[in-house]
């Protein structure tokens, strides 16, 4: 018991700091990738290749004046950044990030809290994040902030449904909500991206909307709402929203890696699953980091490519496309799994994965054909002279 407490405390400390540093570096990466995509260099002055830029930004934010609007609701105004910040960090607690670490007191699972309800916990906590944004918008006593908060609540609640529905598919296949078990299932054969491709597509789009990232960053929408819900915030309070946004990104990316890309599993080998050792923990940690990084990069890449949706388009996509699609997908998938498991007596393995993968491919082509008005990825027809 004492060992468990000490190990947990160390894990909490390390994970918290790694995420904080990761988020700081992510803000730098965002700015530099943005610059590169625009043929610029980006911040490269503070430290080698600008690596200390986040530290300078943090210092600046601590030293800036803390403004508080005269008519703001002081309590909620102060509470909002905290309410936004805390759930963003809490959600990472249940994500396993490496193979178990053997110590001389016993095996330490490389997850802060190995909750049996792991995945449900993530859904529960991540939806709390919307309160921070809504409270910020409300307490600022500013019309733009209020509109931003309003949009955030509508958007995040709408997409929360599609997000939850798309992950039901994972739970159907894994038969478990513990993330460690979900990973263990994927290690045995194919990653869930193969049998659940469409589920991943829905999850990815919803996750973009859930984290308020472009092309779904309507709560900020600087062109029309100044800065949306954090218009009135300055100094460290603003920074808290910023950190919350980026840690949400980290969590969402880590979740995608865990649910659909095998978590810390090293592909095409079973070497990482047996005989825990320190080396294996380190390597699986790096693999998990790489997988997460790929999605983080995709987030940034999409942000600097796609323009922002109009608000009604956003709502239409959420309610008219993603939600029915997710429901339909669950129905089809549940039927398919029932057929394979009960009628044919298959267990989850490579055969079942590829059978479901084929089904997904058909569904995906049908979806793209429908969304793209009768085309798949084909051209645009005749061009005007």
């Amino acid at each position: 018991m004492k060992f468990f407490i000490i190990a947990s405390a160390i894990k909490v400390f390390v994970v918290f700091n790694v995420i904080m540093v990761g988020v700081a570096l992510l803000t730098l990466l965002e700015r530099r990738v943005c610059a590169w995509m625009q043929d610029r260099l980006g911040p490269n002055r503070v430290g080698p290749q600008g690596i200390l830029q986040p530290a300078a930004d943090g210092l600046k934010n601590f030293l800036k004046e803390e403004t508080s609007p005269a008519m703001a609701d002081k309590t909620l105004f102060t509470l909002a950044p905290i309410v936004s910040f805390v759930p963003a960090l809490l959600t990472f607690g249940v994500i396993p990030f490496a193979a178990p670490l053997p110590t001389k007191w016993g095996l330490v699972p490389m997850v802060v809290a190995d909750l049996p309800v792991g995945f449900l916990y993530i859904l529960a906590i991540s939806s709390l994040g919307v309160y921070g944004i809504v409270l910020a918008g409300w307490s600022s006593n500013n019309k733009y902030a209020l509109l931003g908060g309003l949009r955030a609540s509508a958007q995040m609640i709408s997409y929360e449904i599609a997000l939850g529905m798309s992950t039901v598919a994972v739970l159907l296949l894994a038969g478990n909500v513990t993330l460690a078990q979900v990973i263990a299932q994927q290690q045995q054969s194919a990653w869930f991206i193969v049998p659940l491709t469409l589920g991943f597509v829905i999850f990815f789009v919803s996750a973009l909307a859930e984290t308020n990232r472009l092309p779904f960053d309507l709560p900020e929408a600087e062109g029309e709402l100044i800065a949306g819900y954090h218009t009135e915030y300055s100094s460290m309070k603003f920074s808290m929203f910023y950190i919350a946004e980026y840690s949400n990104m980290v969590t969402a990316s880590a979740l995608m890696a865990t649910l659909f890309f095998g978590g810390w599993d090293i592909p095409f080998t079973t070497w990482d699953q047996t005989d825990p050792s320190v080396l294996k923990t380190v390597i699986t940690l790096i693999v998990f980091g790489l997988k997460t990084f790929v999605f983080l990069f995709a987030y940034i890449w999409i942000r600097w490519t796609l323009p922002r949706f109009r608000y009604d388009q956003l709502m239409a996509l959420g309610w008219k496309v993603l939600l029915p699609l997710a429901l339909l997908y669950i129905t089809v998938l549940a039927t398919a799994i029932w057929f394979l498991r009960v009628q044919l007596g298959w267990e989850y393995g490579t055969g079942m994965a590829w059978a479901l993968g084929g089904l997904n491919l058909i569904l995906l082509i049908a979806l793209v054909w429908w969304l793209d008005r009768g085309r798949i990825v084909s051209g645009i027809g005749e061009e005007a002279a």
């Binding site: 590169w36 610029r40 890449w301 793209d372 085309r375 005749e382 005007a384």
Partner: protein, 168 residues
């Protein structure tokens, strides 16, 4: 058509969103790897694509003769033509009857850098310079006196030549 107007090829039908999105993503990714256009300013002040024009009109410079005296003969043409009235000239005369400026000051804050002073100068004494880094800690440092004008070393402007409008 005097100028080239780029006519976009517009599709006659509705386009494929997915294809357009993927093309956009490919485009931004290709830009990620292209050479960057940023010039690292304080270290690098000109590149092969961009240098300051030789016709640039910046802060002034007074040329000197072989004895190190200002070429100015205090004829008074430059304060006369100056549209911003920023040149202060008090003429003096030595024993041989040569005129020279007792006081010659240019207020660089009033100056509009039209270059008329250089054009009008019969002695090719006052020039506008190819120079742009002028920061100072106080406002009064922007009134350049004769000593300061002669001490400047930056290249002088060639101005625009009507007989050679393209500078060839």
């Amino acid at each position: 058509m005097a100028i080239g107007v780029k006519v976009m090829k517009r599709p006659t039908q509705q386009t494929s969103y997915l294809r357009a999105t993927l093309k956009g993503m490919a485009l931004t990714f290709s830009h990620l790897l292209r050479p960057k256009v940023t010039m690292q300013y304080p270290e690098e002040k000109s590149s092969k694509d961009w240098t300051l024009s030789s016709r640039w009109r910046g802060t002034h410079r007074m040329l000197t003769d072989e004895q190190g005296r200002a070429k100015c003969v205090a004829c008074g043409l430059c304060p006369q033509i100056c549209p911003a009235n920023c040149i202060k000239l008090v003429p003096g005369e030595d024993e041989q009857g040569n005129r020279y400026p007792l006081i010659y000051e240019i207020d660089e804050f009033r100056c509009i850098f039209c270059g008329y002073c250089q054009e009008v100068c019969p002695e090719e004494a006052i020039h506008v310079g190819v120079h742009y880094e002028n920061s100072e800690y106080s406002r009064d440092r922007f009134v350049y006196d004769l000593e300061r004008l002669t001490a400047q070393t930056h290249p002088v402007s060639t101005l625009w030549d009507p007989s050679d409008p393209k500078g060839e």
